[in-house]
Each structure stands twice: as C-alpha cells, then as structure tokens.
Amino acid sequence: MNKLFGRNKLSRIEFGLFTLPVLLCVAFAFYVPFFMSMMYSLTEWNGIAKSPTFIGLDNFRQIFSGDANFTAASLFTVKYSFLYIILINVFAILIAVILDQKLKSASFLRAAFFIPYILSLVVVGFIWKFIFMQGFNSFSELTGWGIFELSWLGDPKLAFYSVLIVSVWQSIGFYIVIYIAGLQSVPQEMLEAATVDGAGPFKRFFNVTLPLLAPAITISLFLSLTNAIKIFDVILSLTGGGPGGTTYSVAYDIYRDTFQNNLYGYGTAKALLLFLVVLVITIVQLTYFKRREVEN
C-alpha cells in the first residue's frame, strides 16, 4: 500500500513536470491577457493616464447605441467573408478538379498556385499596391483595355474588390491542396461505374465527386470563414483602410481604436465582441461536425 502511494505521488509529480510548462506558456500568452482585457473593457483609458477609470458597461452601450465606424467595419467584414468563402471554394474546387486530371505538369502547377500562400500578408499587400498603381498604368498603355484604367484602390467600391481579389490570390493555393487531397480519396471505380451508366462529366462531378468531397468542403468552409473574419494585414498594406475609411475590417477597426486613437478600453470592448462572434461560430460549426460524424 505504502509503495503504491509512493508510486502514485511520483506519477503525480511527473504529470506536473510534463504538463505544467505548457500550461504556464498558454496562460501567459492567452488567459492572463484575456482576463486583463475583460477588466479593461469596463474602463476608459488612453494608455497615458496613470490608471484606467472604471465606467462599467458604458463601452458596450456606446458600441451598440451606434458606432458608425464599427457598423461600417462589421458590414465590410460580413460582405467580404461571404464573397471570400464562395469565391475561394468555387475556384479552388475547379482548379483542383482540373489538376486532378493527370496533367503532366500537375505538380508544377500545384506549386505555382501555392507560392503566394508562403508569403507574408503584409508583403502581398504591397506587391499588389504596386501592381494596381504602377503595373496597371503600363498594362493599359499596352492593351488599351478599360479595366486597367479604373482606379482600383481609389474608388471605394473597387477598393473592396481589390482587397477581395488579393486575399483570394494569396490563399487559394492552400485550399486547392486540401481539395486535391480530398479528390484523391474519391474511388476511381465509382467514377468509372458512373461513366458506364452513361453519366457525362458534369453529371459525374455533381452526383459522384461533389458529395464525396463533403469532408474537404466542410474543412475548407470552416477554415476560410475563420480566416476571413480576422482579415487585417492585407488591408493595412494594400489600402490602409482607404479610400475614405471604406475598407476597414473589424480587426483593423479594433487596431485603429486601440493603437491609433488610444482608446484602449473601448477597443478592447470591441475585441471581446469579436471573440464572442468567433466563439458562437465555432460552437455551431462543432455541433454540425459532431452531428455529421454520428450520421456517418
């Protein structure tokens, strides 16, 4: 008995030694700042004054009673996320299906589409700023096409699509790769059987391939949604929120309030709302996953 107790104690110490370091790291990186944030969201603080003033829920009241910037940024983020998710998944599936046709250059093409994904987002924004500003000048001289004469970063409507195009360009390779992996798990016999039954390529795609691609689609939808909500870096370097503040996303709006307007308490309150939205989306997503797993 005594020996058993000793062993137990030892294994408890061991358990602590193995798990405590990671707990400390995670606590320092997330939990402590997160709980500090919760407190700051109830205060008014400009970062310079010695101590924050407690104002209760006033920050949240102010956000909900009409913060034009936050409303605009939320609308931008919702519209952007919606279009981003559709575009990226449709194009990624399309390209993945083509690359899966046993093209000789398939691995080269896959690599080509993947390259922007390994670049830093801030740098990607600058690359495209150069293309939109200088590159399009030369393209329009060369081709005379009106599309290159438009002010892609100066017109509020077009600036939105510029942000969208650049984000899709940067990350599509990642989703193509996920879909290629998904396509490889589609059994060849099933496609052949469908062909024997007289199904054309489109029918085959929509009735056989697409349903079997469901797991890959679920993953991609989830990842593209979580990434879209947090869009920040590309906008910072591509449009800087302009023209006229029309391309601020929620994440960028929070950044502007905290670090540019020095509204630490207020910005933190907004950030907590963002956390709640992400939390709800994830819970919905996980429940959906669970139900699917049970059904299968």
């Binding site: 707990l23 500090m36 944030s37 083509i98 670049l119 600058f126 790769v177 870096d233 950044y255």
Partner: protein, 276 residues
C-alpha cells in the same frame, strides 16, 4: 480517345498560361527590383536594360539585412523549439493519463485557439513589458511557445493516441524513466507530426506581422524581415525600385526554401489542415 488526349493537352496549356498570369505579379516585382528609377517610371513591364544590382546592395546595407535575417532565424528557431518540446511532452502525458484533471488541462490547452489576437493584444503588450519580454527577439521567440501550443498540443495529442501503450510499457519494464521513454521511444515515432507542426508554425512565425509589430518594432536591431519591409515601404513609398527590392528580399528566403522543400511543405500543410 485521341480527342480526349487533345482536350487534355489544350487544358494543360491553358492552365500553364493561367499559372503564369497568376505568378506574374511576383515576377513583375522581381523585374522592377533590378531596374533604375527612370526605367520603372517609364514602363513597368519592360525588362531591365542593365541589371541594377546596386538596388540590392543599397537596401541590403540600409536595412542591415544579415541582422534581420538572423533575427528571423532566432525568433522562429527559438519559438519552434519551445513549441515542439513543451507541447510534445504535455500531449504525451495528457493522452496517457485518464483522469478528470488530464481532460481539463487538455481543454485549457486547446481552447485558446478560439481567442482572436485582437482581444488580447493590448494587455499582452502590458504583460510582456512587465516580464521584460518585449523589445527583445529572445523574448518574442519565447512568447510564441504559448501562441503555438494549442494547435501543437491538439495535433500531438491526436497522433499519440494512435500509438499503442504497450510500446512505452515495455520500455518502462526495462527500467527506463518516463523522460527516457519519451525521448528515446516515443519522440522518434512523432517525426511526421513534428514535421507538420514545424512547417505550419514555422511559416506562421517567420511571416507574422502584428505580434512583432507590437513587441520588437522599437529598434532597428530587433526588427524582423516583414517589419523592415513594412517600415521601408513606408519611408520610400515612391522610390519603387527600392521598395520592390526590399519586398523581394523579404520574400526570397521563403520562396527558395519552398522550391527545395515543396513536397514536404505542401504535405505538411495539408496534414495540418485535415487534422486541425
């Protein structure tokens, strides 16, 4: 059959053209980084008349490139070492212990994946200043231990569950301690997932922007490649030839690494996405 072959060939040619157009922006940056200012202003598309390598030597010295590169290596290396080590030992113990506390700790480790960085950035900066982890590349590297841990613990945990317990039990029988068992028996088995984690998190840390901006942007000595490109473009916003050079120098290490390790990188990223 012949028709089908021809259609495939046409498709292939079309895709190669699309891929070229797709990568053309990066190519244009490369071309213009090798031109003089006048040439860039006259025509962006034209190839350089003479290769202006002086752009590179100018930017190299101005931003102190070797220093930045070393900073990136230190931050990424230190970050990855901590993430892999701490997450692997924790995930091992957590997946081998069946108790309520083990489950609680596991969820405490992975839940932060839900916390958007914006909701902690202000207080994180305050905390890092208190602990003297800001304004130092070592301090920044250490911070990544916590930020990378949730995903790493999650992936390791899932993988270790698939390794039969008999393997560590027989090592323990031979008298090896828990640590010994882990390092000489289990850790080598984790190689494929470790590779996945190193690739995904390495890419992220190497390219990360907001955390370094908050932590190490104060001095030129501690900047990262991405930060330096950001500041440089801000200062030289109309000297396109220099900004193109700076951007190219910021992304070249990633592109070169990708060319050599393409297969592993693509595989690692896919595995991470499917498991995560």
């Amino acid at each position: 059959m012949k028709n089908k072959r021809r259609a495939l060939n046409l498709l292939e040619i079309a895709m190669i053209i699309i891929a070229f157009v797709f990568l053309y922006p990066i190519l244009l940056v490369l071309i213009n980084s090798l031109k003089s200012f006048q040439e860039v202003m006259m025509d962006v598309i034209a190839l350089p008349k003479a290769l202006a390598f002086e752009n590179y030597s100018y930017v190299w010295q101005y931003i102190n490139y070797p220093r930045l590169f070393l900073n990136n290596v230190v931050i990424t290396g230190l970050g990855l070492a901590g993430i892999v080590f701490f997450s692997a030992i924790a995930a091992y113990k957590l997946s081998r212990t069946r108790s309520r506390i083990s489950t609680v700790i596991y969820f405490l480790c992975i839940m932060p994946m839900l916390i958007p960085f914006q909701s902690i950035m202000v207080t994180l900066l305050k905390l890092a200043k208190m602990l003297h982890l800001s304004d130092s590349i070592w301090g920044l590297g250490i911070q990544y231990w916590g930020f990378g841990a949730p995903l790493a613990v999650f992936i390791y945990h899932g993988f270790i569950k698939g390794i039969p317990r008999e393997i560590d039990e027989s090592a323990m029988m031979d008298g090896a301690s828990s640590f010994r068992t882990f390092f000489s028996v289990i850790f080598p088995l984790l190689k494929p997932v470790t590779a996945t984690i190193v690739i995904i998190q390495g890419m992220w840390i190497w390219n990360d922007f907001l955390l370094p901006l908050l932590m190490v942007n104060g001095s030129t000595e501690t900047k990262t490649l991405t930060l330096a490109a950001y500041t440089f473009v801000g200062q030289y916003n109309t000297d396109w030839q220099y900004t193109m050079t700076a951007l190219m120098m910021a992304v070249l290490p990633s592109i070169i690494l990708f060319i050599f390790m393409q297969k592993h990188i693509v595989k690692g990223v896919t595995a991470g996405a499917v498991k995560g």
